[in-house]
Symmetry: C2
Subunit: 294 residues, 2 copies
C-alpha cells in the first residue's frame, strides 16, 4: 500500500500531543511513508521512537527538509520563529509547511519574515483538540477524530496546496474550517484565551490571601469546573497571551465593562438586571451545549 500514501516524507517539529497525534493518525491511515521528528529533548524523541510516532530522529534540517512533502511545526508558539528560521533555507520545491499553533497572526508574521518568497508554501493551521496531558505519551491516533481544525490560508497559497493540507487533516478524522488569520485570533481570544486568563486570575486572587487554605477547603464542583483550565501549562499560556496580545486586550476590556455593569446592578440591588443577564447567559450556554453535542 505504500505507493498509495498521499505524503511520502513527513517531518514534525515537536512529537508531543499535537505533532505526535498527527503523525500517528496519518500512519494509521497509511498516508505517510516515513516520519522524521525533531525535538528539543532527547528523552522526548526517544519516547517518540519507542511509541512508533517517528521512524527516525532528525538531526540536520539541511538533510531532512529538501525532500520532505510535509512539515508540521508543532512547537510551542514562542519557538515557532526559531524553527521557521532553521528550515527556511532548505524548503524543497514541493515541500508544504503547516503548523499547529493556537495563534495565527504571529505565525504568519514569522513565516513571512523567514520564508520570504516561499510564503506560499506555508498554510497555517490550528487543531482544536486540547487535552490535559502533553508529551509523546499523550499522543493518540484518534485525538483529532471529529475535532475541529481551523486553517487560515494566505493569499499566496494555491488552492491545490490548501486542499492537500485539508486532506491531511481529514485523514486524521478532523472537520476542517477556514478563517482568515485575523478572524481566527479574534475568535480564539474571546472563546479560549480570555477564559484561561479569567480562570488563572480567580485562583491567583484566592491563593494570594492569608486564609487561602480555608477558602479552598470549601470550594466545590462549581469552582472545580471554572478553574480546571487554571491548571494549564503556564509558559504555553503566557506565550499565547503575548502572541495574541491586542485581540486579547480588546476582549479583556469588553469583559471588564460587563463586570462593571454587573457590579453596578448588584450595588443597586437590581435583581431584574441580574436575572436578565443570567437568563440570557443560561439560554446561550444551553443552546451551545446542545449544538456542541451533535
Amino acid at each position: 500500500m505504500r505507493e498509495q500514501a498521499e505524503f511520502g516524507k513527513l517531518v514534525i517539529f515537536g512529537a508531543g500531543l499535537v505533532g505526535g497525534s498527527f503523525a500517528l493518525a496519518l500512519k494509521a491511515a497509511g498516508q505517510v511513508q516515513e516520519v522524521v521528528g525533531f525535538g528539543r529533548s532527547l528523552s522526548g524523541m526517544k519516547q517518540a521512537l519507542e511509541f512508533g510516532i517517528v521512524d527516525r530522529v532528525g538531526i540536520n534540517p539541511g538533510h531532512e527538509i529538501p525532500d520532505a512533502d510535509l512539515v508540521l511545526i508543532a512547537s510551542p508558539v514562542a519557538q515557532m520563529p526559531e524553527v521557521m528560521a532553521r528550515i527556511a533555507p532548505y524548503l524543497g520545491e514541493r515541500t508544504l509547511v503547516t503548523d499547529g499553533g493556537s495563534t495565527k497572526m504571529d505565525a504568519v508574521a514569522a513565516a513571512r519574515e523567514f520564508f520570504g518568497g516561499r510564503i506560499g508554501q506555508f498554510i497555517p493551521g490550528h487543531p482544536i483538540a486540547g487535552a490535559e496531558h502533553s508529551g509523546p505519551a499523550a499522543a493518540r491516533a484518534d485525538l483529532y477524530r471529529n475535532k475541529k481544525v481551523v486553517l487560515t490560508p494566505l493569499p499566496e497559497n494555491t488552492p491545490l496546496d490548501v486542499a492537500r493540507i485539508r486532506s491531511a487533516w481529514e485523514w486524521c478524522g478532523a472537520q476542517i474550517h477556514e478563517l482568515s488569520p485575523a478572524e481566527h485570533d479574534r475568535i480564539f481570544a474571546a472563546v479560549s484565551h480570555l477564559p484561561h486568563l479569567l480562570s488563572y486570575a480567580l485562583v491567583y486572587d484566592l491563593a494570594q490571601r492569608e486564609d487561602s487554605g480555608r477558602l479552598f477547603a470549601f470550594a466545590a464542583s462549581g469552582f472545580r469546573d471554572f478553574t480546571r483550565i487554571a491548571a494549564s501549562h503556564p509558559e504555553m499560556w503566557r506565550d499565547i497571551c503575548l502572541a495574541n496580545r491586542l485581540p486579547l486586550l480588546a476582549e479583556l476590556e469588553a469583559y471588564r465593562r460587563q463586570l462593571d455593569a454587573l457590579y453596578a446592578a448588584l450595588e443597586a440591588n437590581d435583581g431584574g438586571r441580574l436575572n436578565d443577564v443570567f437568563t440570557a447567559a443560561r439560554a446561550a450556554r444551553r443552546a451551545w451545549a446542545s449544538e456542541a453535542e451533535k
Copy 2:
C-alpha cells in the same frame, strides 16, 4: 426499629434536590418516623409522595409544626422569610429548625425577625452538594455522602441542639464543619458566588454580539468547563447574589483589581508577570485538586 429513630417527625419545606435527599437519607438510615412535606407546586408534592420522599403532604403548618422534632427549610433563599413567618407561631418546645440555604447572614436575619425569643431553636446550615438537576426526581438518599455540610450556629443555640442537627447530617453521610454566618458568607462569595457571576458574565458578553454564532462555533473544552455553571438556575443565583450582596461586591472588587493588573502586564508585554501569576495559580489549583480528591 421505629422506637430507635432519632427524630420522630420531620417536616420539610421543599421536597426537591436538597430537602428530598435529606428526607430520603434519614429514612434510609431509619432515623425518622414520619416525613411531612410542604411545597409550592402540587405536581412537585405528588412526585415527592410517589418517590417515597414524604409520607404526607402538609397543608396547615398550625397542624404540623407543633409536634415536629425537626423542620428543614429547603426553599429557595428568597422564600425563606415567608416560610419562617408561616411556621414561627407554631414552633413546639422541642422543635428544631434548620435550613439548606446557600447564604447564611440573610437566613439568620430573617430567623431573628420571625422567631424572636425562639431564635435558639434555629440552627442555620448549608449542605455543599450541588447537582445539575433539581426537583423531587433529582433527590437521592446518597447525595450528601462524603459531602461537606456547614453549620453556622448562633450564640443562642444550645450545644445539645447543635449536636442534634450535626447528628442528622451525619446520618446522611456528610462531613460537618462549623463557621460563623459571616465567615460562611465571605468564603462562599469567594469560592462559589463570584465564579458563577464571572461565568454568566462571559457567556452574556459573547451572546450579545452580532457574530455570537460564529464565536460559539469555535468554543471547545476550556470554554465548556469554564461556563458549565453559567447554565445554573437564574432566579436562584439572582437571589443568592442579592442575599450575599456586600461580600460578593467585595470579592468582585478584588477580582477586578486582579484583572486590571493582568491587563497592565499584557499591555506592557510583561511575560514574566503573566508567567508568575499563571504558575502560582496552577500550583494552587493542583494542590487543591489533590487535596479535594482525598
